[in-house]
């Protein structure tokens, strides 16, 4: 519609130019701030990798890759083989998973399938309480209460399996007898600590099973357990595996409780009731007095731990995301 007069662009909000006015500075600033905060995550992760690698380079230049696989750890002679700690980390975490998984899944199923909503609340509170107990308190309880109590139990098991082929190698006595502070005790405490996280992740996964699938199983005359096996399990399989892997990662990285109850003894053995060591435990215990190549080795161990847990978590998240995507699409 043309009139004789041109609209003056310099004037008020009614003109078209105000629609293209640039975003106010504060708004852009906020976005930048948010972006920086997000990038911080990536920066820290990269920073960890770079800084620990730098510090560990000292050790790596002497020990090389085979240092990771060597079991010789002799501080006096500057021998820093990492394998004993990797072994201890893996063994205690595997024990923790074996103990924690059935319990966690049992409680998760209890909450989602068995118990009516209202009575589920106290159970959730208990799980939260379990999760919030600080790890150092678990360690304190472990070393002062659990160890003395469990050692005679180990001893009787050990004498019980004396001579029986495989069991003796696992639960029997090693040259030092059995000890309250051991791989197994550490695994036990780790199991207690990772149960809440596995339970709550598994619960999330199981809750996404569509109700109509469960009804389909019931409509065929299935009992609740049969329904769980037929309808719930196939849907939540992958997610549960992811939850277990997250728990595994936590167990591997747990420091203080392990430092207190694993026994601080550098050895690789199949016997579970004897003292051992894990990566986080040795770093925690020995860092204070370390220097030079020793310290570099410890930091290198930290890098190894970082890499292992990153890989485990990547796999775990990948598995969980994939199953979540599939169930959303199906």
């Amino acid at each position: 519609m043309s009139t004789g007069v041109q609209a003056d662009p310099a004037k008020s909000a009614g003109s078209a130019s105000s629609l293209t006015r640039r975003r106010p500075l504060g708004d852009r600033g906020f976005q930048v701030l948010a972006l920086v905060a997000g990038l911080l995550v990536l920066a820290i992760l990269i920073g960890i990798a770079v800084s620990t690698a730098q510090q560990g380079a000292d050790w790596f230049s002497t020990a090389g890759f085979k240092g990771i696989f060597s079991t010789v750890w002799d501080v006096g002679n500057n021998q820093f083989g990492m394998m004993a700690f990797v072994y201890g980390t893996v063994i205690s975490s595997v024990i923790a998973i074996i103990i924690a998984v059935p319990v966690s899944l049992g409680v998760a199923l209890l909450l989602t399938e068995v118990v009516p909503r209202r009575w589920g609340q106290p159970i959730i509170v208990i799980i939260d309480l379990l999760a919030v107990v600080p790890s150092v308190v678990w360690g304190l309880w472990g070393i002062l209460v659990l160890e003395p109590w469990i050692e005679p139990i180990y001893a009787s098991i050990a004498s019980g399996v004396n001579g029986i082929p495989v069991l003796d190698n696992l639960f029997g006595e090693s040259n030092g007898g059995v000890s309250g502070a051991s791989f197994f005790t550490c695994g036990l405490i780790l199991a207690i600590m990772i149960t809440p996280i596995i339970t709550s992740l598994a619960r999330e996964v199981i809750a996404t099973v569509p109700a109509i699938d469960k009804e389909g199983a019931y409509a065929l005359g299935a009992t609740r357990w049969e329904m769980i096996r037929g309808a719930v399990w196939p849907h939540s399989q992958a997610g549960v595996v992811g939850a277990i892997l997250v728990g595994l990662g936590r167990a591997m990285g747990e420091t203080i409780a392990a430092a207190l109850v694993i026994g601080s003894s550098v050895q690789v053995t199949s016997h579970l009731f004897v003292p051992g060591y894990s990566i986080p435990a040795v770093i925690a215990n020995q860092f204070g007095e370390s220097s030079g190549e020793f310290r570099s080795a410890l930091i290198g161990l930290g890098l190894v731990l970082f890499v292992i847990t990153i890989i485990v978590n990547l796999v775990a998240r990948g598995v969980v995301e994939r199953s979540a995507r599939r169930s959303r699409g199906a």
Binding site: Q31, I44, G106, I126, L129, L130, E254, I283
Partner: protein, 302 residues
Amino acid sequence: MAVVSDQPTIDLREPGGWRRSKNQIATVLMYVAFVIILIPLGLVIFEVIAKGAKAISWQFLTNSTIPPNVMPLGQGGMGAAVVGTLEITAFAAVIAVPLGILGAVYINEYGGGGKSWLSGLISFMSNVMVGVPSIVMGLFIFTVWVIPHGLTGLSGFAGSLALACLMLPLVIRSTYEMLRLVPDHLREASYALGATKSRVTLTVVLPSAISGIVSGSLLAIARAAGETAPLLFTIGLVESTNSNLFSGPTTALPSQIFSNALSPYVGAEERAWGAALTLIVIAFILLFVARIFTARFTRYAR
């Protein structure tokens, strides 16, 4: 009248033996699993209260001189550690909570909730970062902060940095979940009134998610308060209160518990239990407050 026909009676009772037993056994095992998790929780709370209660006194909580391990209970107190824990954790929260909220805002509000490749990457990586062991965070801050500053690098501030690294992904994750729950129509209403994105976020989105955000942050703080490993190489260990966060080593409750746990002296052991009780109480209080906020959030979200 419709006839109830005389057909042979149908047996509608429980299916026989094995199926029923399997079902019952499975149910029983699930309950057993619950009892199994009750046991350690109950035991640890019991022991901590039983052994820690006798150490607790006003002096214990406030006296700023931590006695040497060999001293029996009654001398000095853990005041230094209490102050240390409160200061270090609080400062870590000051760093981590705003940054974490901003990070979650970036992922959800600017990245479309993970749709853009960068926000997807950040979201994925912060989930992965949750799994990084706390001792690695401690080593990280040690190498990038403490070493360059030489001996003066040991300080409460360094400890706060390490704890903040630990808390950051937790806050991002829980805040992100809360932001996702805010319905889009609230945002749209605000946009329709001509608000900029930052204004929408600050005045509409964050306030409606605030209870959930607070709850998630409190849980992250509770986690940080109880962590020892990040503090091991960053704050040192001292025997008296250092309330200056930025200069000089200090101590905190978890550190004291850790060092006392390894000591053979009875007095040290008793002090460790007392400190453990204090720490657990702090953690439980934070959890309790967090749950109150969660309840408020779910109530308002309906």
